[in-house]
Amino acid sequence: MKRLAIFVVSLAVIVSVGAVAPAAAQEDVVVLQGGMIHTLVEGAEVIEDGVVVIQDGRIAAVGGSDTAIPAGAQVVDVSGQHLYPGFFDSVTRLGLTEIGAVAVTSDFSELGDNNPHLEAASAVHPASEIIPVTRANGTTHAVAAPQGNGISGQGSLIHLDGWTVEEMFVENVYMVVRWPNLQTRGFDRATFTVFNRSFAEAKEEYETSVADLEKLLEDARRYATSDVRDDPTQRNFKLEALAPVLNGDQPLLVAVNSERGIRDVIAFAERNDVKVVIAGGREAWRIADEVAASGVPVILGATQSLPSREDDPYDAPYAAPGKLHAAGVKFAISTFNASAARTLPYEAATAVPYGLPAEEALKAITRYPAEIMGVAADLGTVEAGKIANLFVADGDPLDIATQVTHVVIQGRLIDPYDNKHDNSYQKYKARPRR
């Protein structure tokens, strides 16, 4: 126990050395002037030589070169560069984990199958070194999502800058559910053994899990109509937390990948009259028309992944976003990661040569996630009134060699190069040659 404590302390030291300071609060009006503004507003043209006025953390005005620049504003010249809404990573472990193999640095998974009352924000580590590294590539906000069993807890939308989580927190945007697997063969991590059972057995377990989930929703419904909330002897955090799901304010984000699972989730949503968002959705492309007809949105995981079945076309994951788009499925693309979250634009762009229009790839990591999570009034496009989360790049922000030059989060100008990696690079670049 003592050794563990020392270990934790020493890790904390590692983590804090050379840490990157959050940006200064926005005091002045900030104006980004001269860039090409890609607002991503439906039907809008790119604004050449544009102006974005930022005040009190929000976009005050967006327009051409004739846009009025308030007196005393801090004007940043971004001529010849491109301005975009900040990337939105819909499902991540940002702030919830630091070093993958070191369990004590991870807080994204809790024990038990039934934790709707847990909030990711309550465990977000604002000083995580991964956060500045991620925003250096243009991601300005992301959902930190619990990833346990069953109902894992609520995903918290956070800005990728702030001294405390309270400064970063936007809202809890979804309730995470891990859909049960119908598996006859597999590896049980809990017991570290390979299991191999009959289909009948697996099916029974699967159906029981789904029934348990439905019963929980039913209990929560009953709870919502009762008045036990005020009675501490009967108050139940778990059932209480499901109220926003039952009244449609919060979708269930259901982590599911298999064709069968996706079908079952769609039926489950209808049966229980809840909003769902499919997370992962690796095989959604197989039944794209069904998914489109259901109106259920999908948050796809990494495009740079392997086909889920041996006989799938080699490019199945690359082509999946294009197929969903063609079928009319509303979808976003996300990394489901932390240290690799900076690759979000590449995950989206990889779908482009395999059938997804580039504009759609961009929207899949900006506007669409905002719409899917019901925060489009505040985020997702460059429009007056929205939170000023945006970035400037010297070229196509989906492409690799492009450099992000400015990052703005809640109106604050962030130096994208002030992060663990660039700092380390500068240090060792300066090592005297032997």
Binding site: A101, T184, N196, R197, D311, D399, A401
Partner: protein, 916 residues
């Protein structure tokens, strides 16, 4: 078909006479002098005698002829209406072996959760093995003949199915013990033995009872090889010693090696496992390497193109497992089984016909606990094209010949052992039953049961006709290679050469006979050349992945700290779909490495991604051999039981100790050379040690070291250890903190092969930066970007491009990191890595700029062959889907067909015995 009462009476009389005159013994022992009359005799030599008589005396066939009288004093078995066949031989089994010497059956069976080893049980957990010297799971001294248990209930089941004889051996462990030919009846074990030993079986499944080394398939193969090498050395050492013991140090006695002396002298063969085509070829390769005479068992994919011919031309006999692969009876109905799986299930029963057609030597074995299914399996093979005569031969004389006992068994001929079966119909017709089985002249009649079960079912009336005709579903074309032209011209491309020529616009490349013949703007297409118009597209050299684990059936032999005896070459899976997916990402060459479980790991294999060729054809010929080393967390991670090293101090120590040992090994070799030079008599070559041999090659500069590494300090320590022993590290792999000791790496002359931007997945990866490649390059280190992943390898072009962003690397330099740089690091740049005249035509055609995220591979060429082509892929994918659909329909039809056919048959006894 039953004996008439009258004849029974006569028989009883004869019986009593015989008892009185021959044995005088009391009891029920039937007479061993009898005549089988009236049967249609299928002798097994190609001859059939209608209504002939077989006279058997004292367990030997005395006469087989038409029209001979039953001799006086002989019992008569009227077999009118029956057929007589030579007793069937199960060419590989554990019949008569006590359960503790039998491995648990796992193939195809379902092991329910936590059931323990199950099946045969076996000894309690053996002591952990720490290397080949512990002789893990080795029982070469056991002889099946010494272990026989005549009470094995399976003997009766097999007899009832028509088997009289088996090649039997223990099956537990890697070297379970010597095989014997046994008859399946006898009061005492000694009665059963026909010949022993006849073969030394080897398995590649060690069993969970034997912890420690080897714990991977490549470890198993390395051990098997080492044991044969040790036996050779042992034989030589003892031979020399026996010749003149005086004044000579006595070789150490070794219980495991003693019985193997005969094997390495090729007095008797080795039974090696080889079920799938790649495994059969692997078995043949091992036998060749260690110089033993192989018999390969399994062989259910012997239908694979070219394999049967290979077997026929090399004369390697195979034992075919008649337990055909089948769909799991309670499988998930929605499970998407792969086309490869479905195809194998469909085609496996054609294997015997294909073997027969090619003229290969083969016999059958049961492979399951239900011998009744074995005949059904043979029936399937016949439906799939096998001549019934060949089927009978594989069950009888063919098997006898393979084991050198065809002078005693395998046919109904005078002088042979009286192993005969009587059936009520053609042996291979559905519904035929065994009426009587005669083993060594002992009669086992099953007519009572036949009476009890006499109510003939509908399909029993029409046996063969009910069998559905076998319809071979044609194979859809392979995904790759797409086409093969002697001459190809790629025109109008932007060619990024990864050579001094840099990038050439509107260039053409002439490819002839697999090599790049010309590059330039004025290359003409010869007549008949395949012309690819690449206007607006890019061509680069094939991508080389300097760190991969695809196409390997095992990655780590982590039971020991030094596993340099194992090699990826032994476990290449040329059909791994990851190879094809890599091709579709432009990868043409990969350095397939052992894992990072130990400071000194196993040997590598540099392969070209010639997907679907046999394993040996994937190897890049001429590539210098390499080996994996590993430092840091993975090597010192806690293990049960604990394994040295446990710290980075220990990691360095393990490496230094190993090279000290290797130096001693070298010295031993030099002493031998010296002794030879001095003309000393009776010297034998030193014992070949596969572990030390690989290390000695490193010391001699013949084997490249590729060391997994993270932290700057451990990188430095390995540099210094290598310098101490006078060798150079070829590459540091991962080397995520290489940027901190780049000068030192450059000074040593090592290369670096890193990831683009992975970090923070463990503590030693927490200081990684994506500028690593750029920074090391700036400091003069030759850098490559690798994948270490079947996924990442599909976009190594993107990974290379990341250095343009992080650290500002130029385009040419970025491309070099996945082409010419890894080629130089692997010592294969004479052939691959750049687009230059004279090099292999390993090229990638890109739809867009390969150094952008939009780069998409349209085609990948290896040796001038278009191994991947996006259009071909799409077309073929559709055909494959079609084939798959057809196969699934066939299986479904077959399933529904089977249900009503189930009835109580001779299998029922087996079912009971199997404890269902």
């Amino acid at each position: 078909m039953r004996f008439s009462n009258q004849r029974l009476a006569i028989a009883a009389l004869t019986f009593s006479l015989a008892l009185g005159s021959v044995t005088g013994a009391a009891g029920q022992a039937p007479p061993r002098y009898f005549a089988i009359t009236g049967a249609q005799i299928v002798t097994g030599t190609g001859e059939t005698i209608d209504g002939g008589t077989i006279i058997v005396r004292d367990g030997i066939i005395e006469e087989v002829r038409a029209d001979i009288a039953v001799p006086a004093g002989a019992w008569e078995i009227d077999a009118t209406g029956l057929l007589a066949y030579p007793g069937l031989i199960d060419a590989m089994s554990t019949l008569g072996m006590p359960s503790e010497l039998r491995a648990a059956r796992t193939g195809g069976g379902r092991q329910r959760g936590g059931g323990g080893p199950g099946g045969g049980g076996g000894p309690d957990a053996a002591e952990r093995s720490w290397g080949p010297e512990d002789r893990p799971a080795t029982f070469t001294w056991l002889n099946a003949a010494d272990e026989l248990d005549p009470d094995d209930s399976r003997l009766a089941t097999w007899r009832q199915a028509g088997f009289t004889t088996a090649i039997s051996s223990p099956s537990l462990g890697l070297f379970p013990g010597q095989a014997a030919v046994i008859d399946l009846a006898g009061e005492r074990p000694n009665d059963m033995v026909i010949a022993t030993p006849v073969a030394l079986p080897v398995t590649f499944t060690k069993g969970r009872q034997f912890p420690g080394y080897p714990n991977s398939s490549m470890g198993v193969i390395a051990y098997v090889k080492q044991l044969f090498l040790d036996a050779q050395y042992y034989d030589a050492a003892w031979s020399v010693y026996a010749g003149s013991p005086s004044g000579r140090e006595r070789p150490e006695y070794d219980k495991a090696l003693e019985p193997m002396r005969a094997v390495v002298r090729e007095d008797w063969p080795v039974l090696l496992p080889g079920d799938l085509a790649k495994e059969v070829r692997r078995a043949m390769r091992i036998a060749r390497e260690v110089g033993v005479q192989p018999i390969v068992y399994g062989a259910r994919e012997a239908y694979a193109p070219g394999l049967a011919e290979e077997l026929a031309s090399t004369g390697v006999p195979v034992l075919v497992n008649l337990d055909w692969p089948a769909k799991d009876s309670d499988a998930d109905p929605e499970a998407d089984e792969s086309l490869a799986t479905l195809r194998h299930r469909h085609r496996a029963p054609t294997a015997p016909a294909v073997l027969a057609e090619a003229g290969a030597t083969f016999a059958f074995y049961s492979g399951s606990d239900k011998p009744g299914d074995t005949l059904a399996g043979a029936r399937k093979a016949i439906q799939a094209g096998l001549d019934p005569d060949d089927a009978l031969r594989a069950f009888t004389l063919g098997a006898a010949e393979i084991f050198g006992v065809d002078d005693r068994i395998g046919s109904i001929q005078p002088g042979k052992i009286a192993n005969i079966i009587l059936t009520d119909g053609d042996l291979f017709a559905d519904g035929t039953r065994v009426h009587t089985t005669i083993v060594d002249g002992h009669r086992f009649a099953f007519d009572d049961e036949m009476t009890a079960d006499a109510e003939p079912t509908e399909d029993a009336e029409t046996p063969a006709a009910a069998a559905p005709a076998f319809e071979l579903v044609p194979m859809a074309p392979a995904l790759g290679p797409a086409r093969h032209d002697d001459v190809t011209v790629i025109r109008n491309a932007t060619v990024m050469t990864a050579s001094d020529a840099g990038t050439m616009e509107n260039a053409s490349i002439l490819v002839r006979d697999g090599k790049i013949a010309a590059i330039g703007t004025d290359v003409d297409a010869p007549d008949g050349a395949h012309v690819i118009d690449a206007a607006g597209r890019y061509v680069t050299p094939g991508i080389i992945d300097a760190h991969s684990h695809i196409a390997a059936e095992s990655i780590n032999e982590g039971s020991v700290s030094v596993s340099s005896m194992v090699g990826i070459e032994d476990v290449i899976d040329p059909y791994d779909i990851a190879i094809y997916r890599g091709l579709a990402g432009g990868v043409t060459t990969a350095n397939v490495l052992h894992g990072s479980a130990n400071p000194i790991g196993g040997k590598n294999a540099v392969i070209k991604l010639r997907w679907g060729q046999d394993a040996d054809s994937l190897l890049l010929q001429g590539a210098p051999p390499g080996i994996k080393f590993a430092l840091g967390e993975n090597t010192k991670r806690a293990r049960t039981p604990q394994r040295y090293p446990n710290s980075r101090m220990g990691v360095k120590d393990v490496i230094r100790q190993a090279f000290l040992e290797a130096q001693a090994y070298q010295a031993e070799g030099r002493r031998y050379e010296q002794a030879l030079a001095d003309g000393v008599e009776g010297v034998i070559p030193p014992r070949r040690d596969l572990k030390l041999e690989a290390l000695a090659e490193i010391l001699e500069g013949q084997r490249l070291v590729h060391s997994h590494s993270y932290r700057a300090d451990e990188i430095l320590q390995l540099l210094r250890a290598a310098e101490e022993f006078g060798f150079r590290i070829a590459t540091f792999q991962h080397v995520l903190e290489g940027y901190r000791v780049a000068d030192e790496i450059a000074e040593h002359g090592a290369g670096a092969s890193t990831f683009s931007d992975w970090w923070a997945y463990k503590v030693e990866a927490y200081e990684a930066i994506p500028h690593n490649a750029s920074l090391m390059t700036d400091r003069g280190v030759r850098v490559s970007i690798n994948s270490d992943s079947g996924e990442e390898m599909r976009h190594l072009n993107q990974e290379a491009a990341k250095s343009m962003k992080w650290g500002g690397m130029g385009r040419e330099a970025a491309l070099a990191m996945v082409t010419i740089n890894p080629a130089i690091q692997l010592g294969i740049d004479d052939w691959v890595g750049s687009v230059e005249v004279g090099k292999d035509a390993d090229l990638v055609l890109w739809a867009n700029d390969p150094l952008s995220v939009y780069g998409r591979v349209d085609a990948t060429m290896i040796d001038g062959i278009l191994w991947f082509d996006r259009e071909h892929d799409a077309a073929v994918q559709a055909e494959r889907d079609e084939e798959k659909k057809k196969l699934m329909e066939l299986e479904a039809a077959d399933d529904s067909d089977k249900q009503p056919r189930r009835r109580p048959t001779r299998d029922s006894a087996t079912d009971q015995e199997a404890g269902r």
